[in-house]
Symmetry: D3
Subunit: 135 residues, 6 copies
C-alpha cells in the first residue's frame, strides 16, 4: 500500500547556459538569450515526491518536516540567492539547464533519504517550462 | 488506447493528528502543532484520476457528471464541513494524516466505480504538502 | 511617489460560525454547514498590502523581512493550527466570519506598523470566497 | 538517465458535443449543455511531456524552442480561435470531447517528434476537468 | 467599517468579435483571429466584489450564498455553454469584447443587488487578458 | 463608463541589491542574501492595467495587441534574460528593488501610452512578494 508524499519549495538563482569550450557565436546559436554573459535568473520551483509504505503507527510515509529540512538544508542553502555557475561546485563544469539541475537535485536528496523510499523530483524554470527526474 | 480523465473537488474540514494511546507529550513530539486538542483545519483539494478506454460512441472514457456525482455524494457529503476525527466513522480510530485520508478516499470511490476503470487519487492538504494513492 | 508592497502568508485553522444567543435551528438557518458544532476548517490565505514612499537610500518602501516578521509573530503565531473560536481571545465572542477575521487581522497589524504606512488586508477563506479591509 | 521535459500552451476554441446520427433529444440526454447547437467554447490548456536522454553536450533532452515550434505550428495554428467541429478536418466526424482532443493532439505531435522520444499530452478543458494520453 | 466580499465563478461560451456593418476585411483588420465567422470560445472567469458594512448580528456583509445565487441565476444561466452573439439578447447587437461583457455582467447584477452595496466586476477572458468595471 | 483592461507578461532577469557607496557588511546587513555579489535572479511577473472609456465602435478600451506590443518592445526587450544591474541603463545607478523596478516599468510604458489612458503596474518578484505603482 504505497503512497506518494509531495513537498514544494522555491529557490531564486542566476544562471547562464553555455559551454566554455564553444565560441560565443556557437553558444548563442544553441542557447540564444540564455547565453547572456552577464547572467539572467529564475524563481525555480521544486516538487519533491517520496514514495513509501504508510507507517501504521503514525499514519505517515515520512514526516514532512524531515523532508522539508532536507530540501531546506541541502537544496535551498546551496542554490537559493546564488549564481549557479559561479557559486556552486555542482554547476562549475556542468551546464545548468533545467535537465541537469533536476538530476543534480535528485542526486543530492537521494543520498540524504532512507533507501526504502522511492524519489522523484520536478523542477519548474518558468510556469511553462519544467523538468522531471526520473521520467 | 487508454486515456486518463481527471476531476477536481474541494472539502473544508477540521482535524487533529494524534494517537489516543499516546501521551500528550509524545503526540506533541511526533505531530507538533497538528496535535492541537481543539483542532485546526484545511481546504482539502482532491484530484480523482480515472483511466479507461474511450467509448467510440460517445467519445467519453466516463461521463464526468457521473464521476462528479460520486465525488459529491460519497466524499463531499461525508467530509465537507466536518470534523474528520469526531464526525466520521472512517477516522474515528484512524489518524487523519494526508496519507490515510487519500487511501480512505480511494477506497470509497473504488467501490462505486465500475471495475473496468483504473483509479488514483491525489489530495492537497496545503499548496505545498500533498499525497497520492496508489503511488 | 507612493508604491504598494504586498506580502502573502497562510494559516490553517478550525472555526464554527454561530451565535451563542441563538438556537441551534436559527444558527443552522443562517450559517448552514458552517454551524457544524464539531467545527470545520480552512487554509486561510492572507495578502497584506502596505503603501508608502520609497526610501531613496534603500529603494524599499518597507523591508519585507520586517513585514513578514509582523505577520509571522502577530498573526500566524496567534491563529495558525488553532481553533479560532476556542483558542483565541479575538473570536471568543466574535463570530469568525471572513469579514470579521479580515478586520481583526488588519487591526492587529495596524498597531505594529509605523503610522506613516497605509495598510489593507485581503483574506481568502477558499479560492472562491474572499474578503478585504478596508474596502 | 531519462529526464522528462514539459512545455505548456493554450488555445481558445468553440466546440459542440453531439453525434450527427443521434436525435437532438438523445444528444441532449448524453451531452447536456455541451450539445448547444450554437456552440460554446473553452480556453484549452495543453501540457506536452517529452522523455529522453540528456544530450551530454548541450544538457538538453530537447531544445524547448523546437518543441514549442511544433506545438505552435501543428496545434495552435490548427485549433486556436477555431470552431473544432466546423473548421478542422480532425473533428469533422469525430466528437471533440476532451478524450478525443488529447488523442488527436498526441497523434499530430507524435509524427513531428523524433522517434527516440517518448511523448504524452495533458489537456485541460476547464480547471476541474482534464485529460491525459497515454494514461 | 466597510469590508469587500468577493465571489468567483466561471462560464464557458463561444463568441465572435465583429461588426455587422463592416466588411469582412475591415473586421479582420481590427479583430484578427477573433473575427473567425465560425466562432471560437473561452472559459470566462468572473470575480464579483460587493462592498458594504458588516452586519453586527451575523458578521456578514452579505450572505455569500445569496451572492452566489445571483451569479448562478442571472449570469451563468444566461451565458454558460452559450454562443454570446447568437444565444443572448445582450450581445445580439453589441460586440462581445471583454470590456462589453464586464459592463453587461455588472449591469445585470446591479439590478439584483440591494442598493446599499457597492459593486464591481472583474472578468478574465484568458489568464493574461482581463477586464474590470467600474475601473 | 471607464473600464480597466489588464495584460500580463513575464521576464527572467538577474539582479543584486546593494549600494556601491556602502561597505559589503552594510549591504549585507540591509539586503541580506539579495546582496550576493555574483547575482541571483527571478521570474518577474508583470500586470499592466490601463483604464479608459470603451470605444463604442470597437468595444475596446485599447486593442490588447497594441498594449502587448508596448510591453514586448519596451519592457521585455529591455529586461528579459538580462542582468538588471549590468545590462540596463535604468538600474546602472538605481538599486533594482521591486519598488524601483515597478516605478521604472510604469515610467517607460507611460511615455508610450496615449495620455487619455490611466496606467498602473503590478510586479511580482516571487509569488509572495509583489509591488504596485501608483499605489
Amino acid at each position: 500500500m504505497k503512497v506518494a508524499v509531495y513537498r514544494k519549495a522555491q529557490f531564486n538563482s542566476a544562471h547562464r547556459l553555455f559551454r566554455k569550450d564553444w565560441s560565443f557565436e556557437k553558444n548563442n546559436e544553441v542557447f540564444g538569450l540564455c547565453n547572456n554573459p552577464n547572467w539572467h535568473g529564475h524563481n525555480y520551483k521544486l516538487e519533491v515526491k517520496v514514495v513509501g509504505e504508510i507507517d501504521p503507527e503514525t499514519g505517515y510515509v515520512i514526516d514532512l518536516k524531515i523532508l522539508n529540512d532536507i530540501i531546506q538544508d541541502e537544496i535551498l542553502e546551496r542554490f537559493d540567492h546564488k549564481n549557479l555557475n559561479m557559486d556552486t561546485v555542482e554547476f562549475k563544469d556542468l551546464n545548468p539547464t533545467g535537465e541537469n539541475i533536476v538530476v543534480v537535485v535528485y542526486n543530492i536528496i537521494r543520498t540524504k533519504l532512507d533507501a526504502r523510499y522511492e524519489l522523484s523530483v520536478k523542477l519548474w524554470e518558468t510556469d511553462r517550462n519544467f523538468f522531471e527526474y526520473p521520467a
